[in-house]
């Protein structure tokens, strides 16, 4: 397989981890499921190997097999795992336990769940030092403090005495990284270490990992679904699909010259901050990942591959080293670089929304939602301090016909509460909301049916928002009957029309939600929202729980439906690239207030509000040629109970100019006709400060040269 000549540079030294032909089987009621098949990979010292794949690709199974920590029904059915020539598969469970924590350490996905809630932080690091480094209590404690210092904790002494609930997600992830590096392991496995974090925190953690690994020279297996993260941090990348490696190589090689159609399709699915829906539709990969009990006999990607030939379907391809150090499992790999548009959606003419003067659909003025904090009964009498949580504190937004207003911000910034105020699910505390000239009642209970029909909502988690007892047809049919004026005998026809509109087969009307995949469920949720023929559709993180390729097809669907029906969207997401892709207008929210608002392309080009700038700088971009200026926000969003005085962002602002930021609320400045920023720094100065935020460095012509 890898015998054709020149050894690639990264493999010239002895690998720290060498996985050869690894296969893993899960024994289930349906029989054995081959979750991972013939995966081989080598990781050298100081190398960060990014293993990417969508859900169900087997990436976590690979990691668990390497450390021999599979669930009870899982077993390694073939292959070998060598850690510096030590055969891990041959070790007894007791010997393996000695490898854990000393030679191989792990950092897990959700830091708040991976730290024991009832043991102080310092002790959780010190116990590793005691068990593996043979230190006594005092030495181990010293070591723990030293490690906390290493991961950038300003006051290790204080942190060591705290408990998990007293630290933010980002701090906890630092703690886990500190724990993992305590024994200076040979291999560090990181399983989606930043997935549960905000984009700003993610950036800080990625920087930290990058800096620490330069110092420690540990070999790293980095598992993620996020191609942007791989581009930023990894040296090599392996693309896993349904349990097999499709393509592997150095990061710049793979991102620049894709040699497998799956990689090509996957990268085209990811929205970019510099391209909008008016420029291009996102790639979609037709079909879905094959079930493990019904894998195709030939190439496992052939059923979804537009360039598959008969030979691809008959014969299982072998991995070839197409270029030095660049492997692909596609037999037609030579053709791939010549077909950049292989997965491009058929370009339909997408109409631009009406001009900014277009009719106003939603005019929300000074909306606020203050939650009263209450204790239990008599206990409330003893409560001290502020008793209000100002989730939304004066947000004004206008949505025009056929336009999308995107709302971005970190978690806890109030974007979902605002959306729920507009939908009437949460009663606003004050402010005015006007829908097509008519004032909206605060509570959904006080809104007449005709108004309810006009505002529909698509929720984040379709598993929770679709009634599991109700068939898809009944689910879509209910708003038709209750909110629309559809005669009962035409409901069936309308349901079929709606299913077709969201690209689902008509036969799905009889299915129950659990028979659908995540993406299909979300399509049903969209069809249900459309059934009422709304003027305003509120999409609250509609794609966040879905895989990259499914996200792309849903975004395309939303954009296409908008073009056809002229619905206005309020699109809420923490994913800046997704918001940029679907939105005409963008509002940036922080601590319950708006800080920047304007047309999407203007908001995402300088001058930015310092917060917008930080968000953009933090965003991992799946293109190793894009250089982002390092602007990092430290700490996390302050509590909405104790809002900082003056400009609310001053506690984290990298451009804070002085006392004025701490004492005075900034005023709105107009940048362009529709683009405004709320900041003390004059717009001209912001322009100067922010000139080189994103820079594309492409050596050869053809790339997009330029700065934003």
């Amino acid at each position: 397989m890898m015998s054709n000549g020149v050894a690639p540079p990264s493999q010239s030294t002895e690998p720290v981890l060498q996985v050869t032909d690894l296969s893993v089987v899960y024994n289930t009621e349906k029989g054995p499921l081959p979750a991972v098949r013939h995966v081989s990979l080598r990781i050298g010292q100081g190398e960060i190997y990014g293993l990417v794949g969508e859900s169900g690709s087997g990436k976590t199974t690979v990691a668990r097999a390497v450390v021999r920590y599979l669930p009870a029904n899982g077993a390694v059915s073939g292959g070998s795992v060598l850690l510096n020539k030590l055969d891990l598969m041959g070790l007894s469970p007791v010997q393996m336990r000695r490898v854990w924590g000393s030679q191989i350490t792990m950092v897990h996905q959700d830091p708040s769940a991976a730290v024991n809630p009832s043991i102080p932080i310092g002790e959780q690091i010190a116990e590793v030092a005691r068990v593996h480094l043979g230190m006594d209590r005092r030495q181990a404690r010293e070591k723990a403090l030293q490690m906390l210092n290493q991961v950038g904790m300003s006051d290790p002494e204080a942190v060591a005495g705290r408990y998990a609930h007293q630290l933010s997600g980002g701090m906890l992830q630092r703690v886990l990284i500190a724990t993992a590096l305590t024994t200076n392991p040979q291999l560090l496995i990181m399983d989606e270490p930043t997935t549960a974090l905000d984009v700003t925190t993610e950036a800080v953690i990625l920087d930290l990992v990058h800096d620490l690994l330069e110092q420690y020279q540990t070999a790293v297996l980095y598992i993620t679904h996020n191609l942007g993260v791989v581009a930023r941090i990894a040296t090599r990348v392996g693309v896993l699909y349904a349990g097999e490696l499709m393509e592997e190589g150095a990061v710049p090689d793979v991102f620049k010259r894709k040699l497998h159609p799956y990689t090509l399709g996957l990268l085209g699915c990811v929205p970019r901050v510099d391209i909008s829906k008016h420029d291009v539709e996102l790639n979609t990969i037709p079909g879905s990942i094959p079930p493990l009990d019904g894998l195709p006999s030939g190439c496992i990607f052939a059923p979804r591959c537009p360039m598959a030939e008969d030979a691809c379907r008959l014969e299982h391809p072998t991995q070839v080293e197409a270029e030095p150090g660049h492997l692909t499992a596609c037999r037609r790999w030579q053709a791939v670089p010549r077909l950049p548009d292989l997965f491009a959606a058929p370009q339909s003419e997408i109409e631009r929304g009406e001009t900014p003067e277009g009719s106003l659909v939603l005019d929300a003025r000074n909306v606020a939602k203050h939650f009263k904090l209450r204790g239990m009964g008599v206990a409330a009498l003893w409560r001290r301090g502020p008793s209000e949580l100002r989730a939304v504190d004066d947000i004004s937004i206008r949505v025009r016909k056929g336009h999308t207003m995107g709302i971005v911000g970190e978690s806890g910034c109030g974007k979902t509460t605002f959306a729920r105020c507009v939908a009437g699910l949460v009663e606003a505390s004050c402010g005015e909301m006007i829908l097509e000239g008519e004032p909206l009642a605060y509570s959904v209970a006080h809104r007449p049916l005709s108004v309810l029909r006009k505002i529909q909502m698509v929720f984040q988690n379709p598993d929770a928002s679709l009634n599991p007892q109700l068939s898809v047809g009944a689910c879509i049919g209910r708003p038709l009957i209750m909110l629309g004026d559809t005669p009962r005998n035409q409901v069936g026809q309308r349901v079929r029309d709606l299913l077709r509109a969201v690209n689902l087969p008509e036969a799905y009307a009889d299915r129950l939600p659990h028979e659908l995949s995540g993406g299909e469920k979300q399509r049903v949720a969209i069809a249900r929202a459309l059934a009422a023929n709304p003027t305003l559709m509120i999409c609250d993180e509609p794609i966040s729980s879905l895989d990259v390729s499914v996200q792309a097809s849903l975004m395309n669907l939303l954009v296409r439906l908008q073009g056809a029906q002229g619905t206005s969207y309020l699109f809420i997401s923490h994913d800046l690239a997704a918001v940029r892709h679907v939105s005409d207008w963008i509002a940036v929210v922080y601590l319950g207030r708006l800080w920047e608002v304007g047309p999407a392309e203007e908001v995402f080009s300088p001058p930015f509000h310092p917060y917008t700038e930080a968000l953009l700088s933090a965003l991992p971009i799946p293109d190793p040629d894009v250089r982002q200026k390092r602007i990092r926000l430290l700490g996390s969003v302050p509590s909405a109970v104790h809002i900082p005085p003056g400009c609310r962002f001053h506690t984290r602002c990298p451009h804070k100019i002085g006392a004025v930021c701490e004492t005075e609320e900034p005023a709105w400045q107009n940048v362009a006709r529709y683009h405004s920023i709320c900041c003390h720094i004059p717009v001209d100065e912001l322009c100067d400060l922010q000139r080189h935020l994103l820079r594309v460095e492409r050596p050869a012509p053809g790339g997009k040269e330029g700065e934003r």
């Binding site: 920590y69 336990r97 000695r98 991976a114 009832s118 068990v131 609930h165 003893w382």
Partner: protein
């Protein structure tokens, strides 16, 4: 934590005062004449009037209540109407007996229940787990008078290992009373054992699945350390709370068990008071039981707070 304790304590006092009102109303404000009820149909009017005078029943209700409450709080619990003895001495003596029984029972069922629960959780779905789960299910369902009688039939009567009757003199010193305590304690334990085991099993299974336990395993810590330090510290939290809340029941609520064995605890004293229509005694015992229940709840809350840093450090 301090403010939390102060709040909880204030809340307990309110609970006890509210309960005292209920007790007072239930015992004195019943329809009909209390003195008549106490003395029976055939008492002379003069006797009834004397009793009314003695009990102060001719005063307005709120004066009666406050008078009674203040006397109770200052330690004057009155004189039994039946045997003319100081109620306080009687109640406290029985309370001591109840405490002995409760302590022995706790000592049996808590360690055993936790052990069974943890063993079951570690062998989840296996034969050991099924045996333990089946047993605890059966025990939870069996009332004390059944387990008690079965134990008497076998242990006391057939095998003659222990006395069947525990109606000892309330003053018996602990050393001699011990053998009379064993059977009642086992009876009480059997009922609670299943409950504790099931509770511990469920929470331990939950904790074993937690990410932080997986993380601890993959830190390469010895298995015993993972279990004792990372698992049990979290999984025993709910169990500890349940145990602490059960103390109230162990001291004041063992009426059935005490009756089966004739053991002189608080429960039997309450039954005795009710049978003899001794309102003074019933009031005193009820108040003691209410107080114990309230404080065992407080102990449960405090323990939960002490063991759970999320509560302890909340202020």
């Amino acid at each position: 934590m301090t403010t939390y304790l102060v709040r909880r304590f204030a809340f307990i006092l309110l609970t006890i005062i509210a309960a005292s009102l209920v007790i007072f109303v239930a015992t004195r404000m019943m329809p009909g004449d209390v003195a008549r009820v106490m003395l029976g149909q055939f008492a002379t009017d003069q006797a009834v009037e004397n009793l009314r005078e003695e009990l102060g029943l001719n005063r307005p209700a709120h004066v009666q209540y406050l008078d009674w409450l203040i006397h109770f709080l200052t330690g004057d619990w009155g004189v039994s109407l039946v045997n003319r003895l100081e109620v306080r001495g009687m109640v406290l003596q029985r309370l001591g007996n109840s405490l002995k029984l409760a302590a022995l029972s706790l000592g049996i069922y808590v360690p055993l229940g936790i052990l069974l629960g943890v063993v079951a959780a570690l062998n989840r779905e296996g034969p050991v787990d099924q045996a333990i789960s089946g047993l605890s299910m059966a025990l939870v369902g069996l009332p004390e008078f059944v387990t008690g009688l079965v134990l008497i039939a076998f242990v006391a009567i057939s095998w003659r290992l222990l006395p069947a009757n525990s109606s000892i003199d309330p003053d018996t010193p602990l050393r001699e009373a011990f053998k009379y305590l064993i059977l009642p304690a086992i009876t009480v334990s059997l009922t609670s054992l299943g409950y504790i085991a099931r509770m511990t099993r469920a929470s331990t299974i939950n904790v074993l699945r937690a990410d932080y336990v997986r993380a601890a395993e993959l830190k390469g810590l010895p298995r015993r350390q993972v279990l004792l330090k990372h698992v049990l510290r979290n999984s025993l939290l709910p169990t500890v709370t349940v145990v602490a809340m059960g103390i109230g029941w162990l001291i004041g609520g063992l009426i059935v068990t005490e009756s089966v064995y004739g053991y002189p605890g608080l429960g039997r004293l309450l039954v005795y008071g009710i049978q003899r229509r001794d309102l003074i005694l019933v009031q005193a015992v009820s108040m003691v039981i209410v107080t114990i229940y309230s404080f065992s709840n407080l102990v449960a809350d405090i323990l939960y707070g002490v063991l759970n840093p999320r509560i302890r450090l909340a202020d």
